[in-house]
């Protein structure tokens, strides 16, 4: 049946809560309203206010209390209403969420999930279209996941909730309405595995989250130019499945990484740097980065000129082929 990414996420939460009564969902407006994107729709009605509840407007408080809940033995799944509003929680995330297991010599793990709708393309006002993945990916102790398809949205969220370590779960909000023909529950490769979405020979396009769709679109259009692109979906930003990326890049000899976030010191730099190092000698061209510009996210009316699209990807492929 047809499932949207939003529907898959909602079902994943419901199934996880039914399967394990230690799973607790909370955040701003996730209860009665079902979340501003309705990802938690119906959970409070079905599982009760003790399992899914609203919070005051206090992100540090939401994440900080989730740490205590996880210490107690629950599996909190909290929502940051938008990417830009996860920043007030950064101190709790960097100073504690990522460090607690290590600090306590392995005795206190924190099985919690922080869900963050992220990225642009929905015509929102400032602070509602941020791509903060680099901040999280650079923070040791965190597991950072971002699904690019409805199936992965379900499978990876279920896996994240069952994960023994804290997961930053980045939901590509502009793809919430992306549809797929699925029967839920669906399984998928585990956290920590990248997946080749399309095999090809001309060049490797590495993407994640919202850009997976864009990369596949570019690959389809590339055929007109006689280019056969391989598309790799990163899925887990940290820990990164570098081997799958290097294997693909070594095979095609050309690779680029695409993301919405600003380029400078962005997540793509890690992929470009590590692939360049490990595939050195197999690369006919440098690893290129196709990204948003090094500026604050622009106003809605001009955001499409910020966001990487198939054209920008294909321009980069053309440059890859000039080497």
């Amino acid at each position: 049946m047809e499932v949207t990414m939003a529907g898959a996420l909602n079902t994943a939460l419901r199934d996880a809560m039914r399967a394990d009564d230690t799973v607790v969902v909370y955040g701003e407006d996730v209860g009665r309203l079902g979340g501003v994107f309705r990802i938690t729709d119906g959970l409070q009605a079905e599982l009760g206010v003790d399992r899914c509840f609203d919070t005051p407007v206090a992100e540090s408080g939401i994440v900080g209390t989730a740490i205590g809940m996880a210490m107690y033995g629950l599996r909190p799944v909290v929502e940051m209403q938008f990417d830009g509003f996860s920043y007030p929680a950064l101190n709790q995330i960097i100073s504690h969420v990522g460090k607690y297991r290590n600090r306590s010599r392995g005795r206190v793990g924190l099985p919690l999930v922080i869900r963050i709708p992220y990225g642009g393309g929905i015509g929102a006002v400032e602070h509602h279209s941020e791509s903060p993945e680099a901040y999280y990916a650079h923070t040791a102790g965190l597991t950072v996941v971002s699904p690019g398809t409805p199936a992965d949205a379900y499978a990876l969220l279920r896996a994240s909730i069952e994960h023994e370590d804290p997961v930053i779960f980045l939901e590509p909000k502009r793809r919430y309405w992306l549809k797929a023909d699925l029967e839920l529950p669906v399984t998928a490769p585990p956290i920590g595995k990248a997946v080749v979405r399309r095999t090809g020979t001309t060049a490797t396009v590495i993407a994640y989250g919202p850009m997976v769709t864009t990369a596949l679109e570019a690959a389809t259009r590339a055929e007109e130019s006689g280019w056969d692109l391989e598309v790799v979906d990163v899925r887990t930003l940290s820990p990164l499945d570098i081997d799958t990326l290097v294997t693909s890049a070594s095979k095609t000899g050309r690779a680029l990484v695409v993301h919405e976030a600003a380029r400078f010191a962005g997540y793509g730099a890690e992929i470009a740097a590590d692939v360049s190092e490990r595939a050195f000698g197999y690369l006919a061209a440098p690893v290129l980065r196709v990204t948003g510009w090094d500026i604050p996210y622009p106003p809605a009316k001009i955001e499409r000129h910020f966001l990487p699209d198939a054209d920008r990807i294909l321009d980069a492929v053309a440059r890859l082929l000039e080497y």
């Binding site: 009665r32 005051p56 408080g61 006002v125 622009p298 955001e303």
Partner: protein, 372 residues
């Protein structure tokens, strides 16, 4: 070694010194005083302009909602029902004072004299803040809740350091008051006796979350005591009380008396924003109840009773309101997006080599788009 203490409490020592403790309890009830009446010293002229601003604000708000439905704006956060709180507070400011509004406070920003079309750029998506903050001394409307309270406090600290007799007023909501920044702002304002006024519009909701689930306290104003600053709680739908109380706070701040926290009890009549579906979390009856306390109707009633306005004046205001609404429609409909390349121009005072190069890339993309 701690358990025995908790259990057996037998054989308590008979010696008084070993059987006695002492402490002070905090009695919240004690803190919130009775409702006290205060005089208002507005001339009929001023009362009229206060009404005029509220009436124009109401029309502007309705028009913004319409323009959103018609697609001229992407989204809009209505202040319907909060005109008294926003306009009344701003009315107490002097020309050189500063205002630090939030996304909710378009009407307060309008009352400050900022052009409504420029204000709405935030919601049309043409630019984050289109007006010049230094022209009317109004900061960009903040989206991350409560963050602006610290900016207002800092500006007020600076004014005090420079012996500049101005004040800063900031608006935030009952939900925003739960953020840590609210506490840090009020506490620092108290420490430095900064001339800043914190006006909390308690409109009973933070999107879908009602006030009683936002905090366990009966009044946000009580937080003033925790930071050692004056606190006031009032009917935010009574524009004269809002004006007069803010005026007291403004005068105190200006004369070196430090900050004040004012909780204005009001009600958000519309949905959180045009994108919100309030039927999911509150009944029409509840909203209907709220409408009954309409601050504009209420003020108009008193003005009529007091003979401060006549039909001629009201007609004048109506006409002005309609003209304003028409201008909004004309200016915001199909307003062209600005040059996308501008997105690079204000990141730094001077364009960096990186941004110059990226700007050139975007230029190429745009060229390619017109003639592939």
């Amino acid at each position: 070694m701690t358990t025995d203490a908790a259990t057996a409490s037998s054989g308590t020592s008979s010696f008084r010194g070993l059987a006695q403790a002492a402490w002070q309890d905090v009695a919240a009830e004690g803190a919130l005083g009775p409702v006290i009446e205060h005089p208002v010293d507005l001339s009929t002229e001023q009362l009229r302009s206060l009404y005029r601003l509220m009436a124009l604000a109401r029309r502007v708000d309705r028009q913004a909602i319409n323009l959103t439905r018609q697609g001229a704006l992407g989204v809009y956060a209505s202040s319907m029902g909060q005109e008294a709180a926003q306009v009344g507070a701003v009315f107490a400011l002097e020309k050189n004072d500063w205002l630090f509004p939030s996304y909710r406070d378009s009407l307060g920003t309008f009352a400050r004299g900022v052009d409504i079309v420029e204000i709405l750029a935030l919601f049309s998506g043409s630019w984050h803040c289109a007006f010049d903050p230094y022209e009317h001394l109004v900061a960009p409307q903040a989206t991350p809740v409560t963050t602006q309270a610290l900016h207002a406090t800092g500006l007020a600290m600076a004014a005090r350091l420079r012996h500049d007799p101005i004040v800063a007023l900031t608006f935030f909501g009952d939900g925003a008051a739960s953020e840590g920044d609210a506490h840090e702002a009020m506490n620092m304002a108290g420490v430095y006796q900064a001339p800043v006024i914190f006006v909390v519009q308690n409109n009973q909701y933070a999107i879908s979350v009602p006030f009683r689930m936002q905090t366990h306290t009966s009044s946000i104003a009580l937080r003033a005591a925790g930071c050692g600053i004056p606190g006031i709680r009032l009917d935010g739908n009574d524009v004269l009380s809002v004006y007069a109380a803010v005026r007291v706070a403004v005068d105190r701040a200006r004369s070196g008396g430090g900050p004040t926290l004012i909780e204005a009890m009001t009600f958000r009549i519309e949905a959180h924003t045009t994108a919100d579906d309030q039927s999911r979390y509150r009944t029409e009856d509840e909203v209907a109840e709220g409408r009954k306390r309409d601050p504009l109707e209420r003020f108009l009633g008193v003005l009529r009773e007091g003979g401060a306005v006549d039909d001629a004046y009201l007609a004048e205001v109506d006409a002005e309101a309609e003209a304003l609404a028409a201008r909004m429609r004309d200016s915001l409909f199909g307003a062209p997006a600005g040059d996308p390349r501008e997105m690079f121009d204000h990141v730094y005072a001077t364009l960096t080599p990186q941004l110059e190069a990226q700007r050139a890339l975007l230029h190429q993309e745009m060229q390619a788009a017109v003639d592939p």
